[in-house]
């Protein structure tokens, strides 16, 4: 039993560390630590830096320009990325539709879409959920009818994250309604957001941000060559992708970074108040979250060890999602509580002083979403109960 890295892994760690130290632009670094949403341009600029370095397709196979990293290397990378507080990669292209296309897509689709995804030339969004189909995704109603060489798509997708910036959307669409199981007859379509009949309506979240959208499809014509894999098999492809989404949502190292920062903050006096480090109640709560996080980190390592020895990630990804998001929210709560009255101002205001303090509550509110999206935590528990416990 050991968790030491090989010489090669340590050398890799050094390389990654150096990269984040030297090539992570100060301007973007400052924007991320301000706590405000990262502007689209900076997001793309950062992803292009990763692309230039050859590190955009972390999970991608080398034949498609991916890193081909071992699970341990991915782990090391994630840790350094978290330590550097680097921007969160917009997952829809690189982590979601990319893997679906290189796994299930045609050669033509691979050639057409993958290079632009890898280089962050195109912005993608995810069109799964609908007003009537959230947790029960298989009840989706957006419909595709084959007319000549086009799928004609009608319906409404919702909660589409950053859809306002997207060039493309990947959608689950019902193409056959006469099926034995509702999961059948759903297809995976790639839709150009500039197609006539697509309209994007903003949904404002409780913290006032425009992060998600409702997207309407009114007789949108989608060329047949934009169907991924087989007609009616989209659910299977989509599920592969969801498991990725769940493992990614553990965010262990970002949580570690935030807890470390909070400890640093607690040791200092903010606005002349006594340091929070003197407040035993607060520090005990902080320590309790650190314990949980350490547990999660080792659970992730155990999953990693299993994956390294050839086992596929299964329902355990649900565990990582639940714990990871609970810890994120616990940290958000600590930050907000640390700010006391200064969590109240709605926007960072120079006259109020510490801008980051005033954003703590907004983050706390915004990240209530973490236990709702990517399959709510209740749904994850249902999955574990059924598939792990056999209940």
């Amino acid at each position: 039993m050991h968790v030491t890295f090989s010489e090669a892994d340590l050398a890799f760690q050094e390389e990654v560390r150096t990269f984040f130290r030297d090539e992570y632009p100060d301007e973007i670094r400052e924007a991320v630590s301000s706590g405000e949403e990262l502007p689209r341009e900076m997001q793309i600029r950062w992803q292009k830096i990763l692309f230039e370095k050859g590190w955009a397709g972390i999970n991608w196979p080398t034949e498609h320009g991916g890193t081909g990293w071992t699970p341990v290397q991915k782990y090391i990378y994630a840790r350094e990325e978290g330590n550097a507080n680097a921007p969160v990669i917009v997952p829809f292209g690189l982590n979601m539709v990319g893997p679906v296309i290189y796994t299930f897509g045609s050669e033509a689709q691979k050639n057409r879409f993958l290079p632009d995804i890898l280089a962050s030339n195109t912005w993608w969004c995810q069109g799964y959920s609908e007003p009537g189909a959230g947790s029960d995704l298989a009840s989706l109603k957006t419909k595709g009818d084959l007319v000549g060489d086009h799928w004609v798509v009608n319906g409404t997708k919702t909660w589409t994250t950053l859809g306002q910036f997207a060039d493309w959307i990947f959608c689950l669409v019902r193409t056959t309604s006469d099926v034995a199981r509702r999961q059948e007859g759903i297809s995976f379509l790639l839709i150009d957001m500039k197609s006539p009949g697509v309209t994007v309506k903003p949904i404002i979240l409780l913290d006032g941000t425009h992060e998600v959208n409702e997207i309407h499809f009114d007789n949108v014509e989608v060329p047949v060559e934009n169907l991924v894999g087989e007609e009616g098999k989209g659910w299977t492809y989509g599920k592969v992708l969801l498991q990725h989404e769940r493992t990614n949502s553990a965010n262990t190292f970002r949580s570690e970074y935030r807890l470390r920062k909070l400890r640093e903050q607690a040791a200092t006096s903010v606005r002349g108040a006594p340091p929070l480090a003197d407040d035993k109640n607060f520090m005990r709560r902080l320590a309790a979250v650190e314990v949980e996080l350490k547990g999660l980190e080792y659970t992730e390592l155990r999953t990693l060890a299993a994956v390294s020895s050839g086992k596929a990630p299964g329902p355990e990804s649900s565990f990582l999602k639940i714990k990871g998001t609970e810890i994120q929210q616990a940290i958000d709560t600590l930050y907000m509580d640390a700010a006391g009255y200064y969590a109240l101002p709605y926007r960072a205001d120079p006259s109020v002083g510490e801008g980051t303090e005033t954003l703590t509550a907004l983050r706390y509110f915004n990240f209530r979403k973490a236990t709702i999206y990517a399959g709510s935590n209740e749904i994850q528990k249902n999955i574990i109960a059924k598939h792990v416990l056999g209940l």
């Binding site: 409780l206 002349g272 109640n281 509580d337 009255y341 709605y346 002083g353 236990t371 709510s376």
Partner: protein
């Protein structure tokens, strides 16, 4: 034993309820919250006309002679409309000080116009370094002939931006954090040397950072005795704590009701989500939290009204419950609403935000639990 409302309280509850039903729907509230001042001057006049601004004051001062129970009834009803008009700042906070400490001339100058809805006032009880310590008063007032010169900062002053009158606790003697040596001053907002940076708070309300840079006031600005303001300040904050707890209990009930209703309407997997046992149990927890909160609130209000020695303990108890159970109730309400719960469009998120703000106000859960842990029973 009788926990029912008396006739006047029932009338008060009824009139606030009618007002919210008829004139204060959620969209209206949002429009007021987003207006320049953050509330409606017309609505405020209505509050004054209906006598709501007069509730806790003596009849001789133009008040209705109401007590903590009446305020509880009123706040619990106002909560249902998420009312943004500055009732807490004017009537409870500034009013609490004026009622206790103002002399006849000051009452005529400040309290009566406030009750009439013609003058806005607030109490700047907090300083940037204070966290929740009321005694942390670093703002100073020094003698200058017959006048006083005030210097310092006040933080997150509720409705500071629209107040005509700011009540400023300032240190006239003693050390930082001493109870003794705090004096209360009534300071006009347009005084030379006073700067007020107003901003919106996340719960749809307004606050301000106030800087006093050599502000000169006459001796008649002193409310009560020099050096002796703490007792009035402390008693006022206890009352204000009860008032926001009453508001919080009202909000908790609304959130519980709305969540239960939503869970019956929203279907997934072909059944209402309210049929899932996991969610049912959480909604039962919400109900139990509401009942516990309502009970502690009544205890605290009665203890406070009778001036019993349990009063402080009762106030900290209900505040602790509101900060903890209120938080988890609010979080569950959002969670059970799914994606809808985190939208600006739905009122649920706004109730949750106000409940969160109240959780912090006048001391968070840790603060009050500490008080309870160290209090001798």
């Amino acid at each position: 034993m009788d926990f029912s409302l008396n006739e006047i309280q029932a009338m008060l509850a009824d009139s606030v309820d009618k007002f919210i039903q008829n004139e204060y729907d959620f969209d209206t509230r949002q429009a007021y919250a987003e207006s320049d001042t953050g509330f409606s001057a017309d609505v405020w006049s209505t509050f004054a006309e209906l006598g709501w601004t007069a509730v806790p004051f003596a009849e001789d001062d133009g008040g209705l002679d109401g007590g903590p129970a009446d305020i509880m009834v009123l706040m619990q009803q106002l909560a249902r409309g998420l009312v943004v008009e500055p009732y807490l700042a004017n009537v409870i906070l500034a009013g609490g000080i004026l009622r206790r400490a103002a002399n006849a001339e000051q009452k005529e100058r400040w309290l009566q116009p406030m009750i009439a809805g013609e003058l806005h006032a607030t109490l700047a009880f907090n300083e940037p370094q204070a966290r929740y310590r009321l005694t942390s008063v670093a703002t100073t007032a020094t003698r200058d002939g017959d006048d006083w010169i005030l210097n310092g900062c006040k933080g997150v002053v509720l409705n500071g931006g629209t107040a005509d009158l700011l009540i400023i606790p300032a240190r006239t003697s003693g050390n930082a954090d001493d109870e003794r040596g705090i004096t209360l001053f009534g300071v006009a907002a347009d005084s030379d040397g006073l700067t007020c940076n107003a901003y919106a708070t996340y719960d749809g309300q307004r606050a301000a950072e106030v800087i006093l840079d050599g502000v000169c006031v006459e001796d008649r600005a002193v409310l009560g005795e020099v050096d002796d303001g703490f007792a009035d300040l402390d008693a006022t904050i206890d009352e204000a704590t009860l008032a926001v707890c009453a508001e919080a209990v009202g909000i908790m009930q609304v959130l519980k009701d709305k969540t239960v209703e939503y869970s019956k309407d929203r279907s997934q997997f072909g059944v209402p989500i309210g049929s899932f046992q996991e969610l049912q149990h959480r909604m039962v927890d919400m109900l139990m939290a509401c009942e516990q909160a309502q009970s502690l609130l009544l205890w605290a209000v009665m203890a406070n009204a009778s001036g019993s020695e349990e009063s402080k303990r009762a106030v900290s108890s209900i505040k602790y419950l509101v900060s903890t159970a209120g938080r988890s109730l609010g979080e569950d309400a959002i969670q059970i609403h799914g994606g809808m719960g985190v939208t600006w469009e739905l009122d649920v998120a706004h109730y949750f935000k106000r409940l969160t703000a109240i959780g912090t106000m006048f001391g968070d859960a840790d603060w009050h639990l500490d008080k309870l842990a160290s209090a001798s029973h």
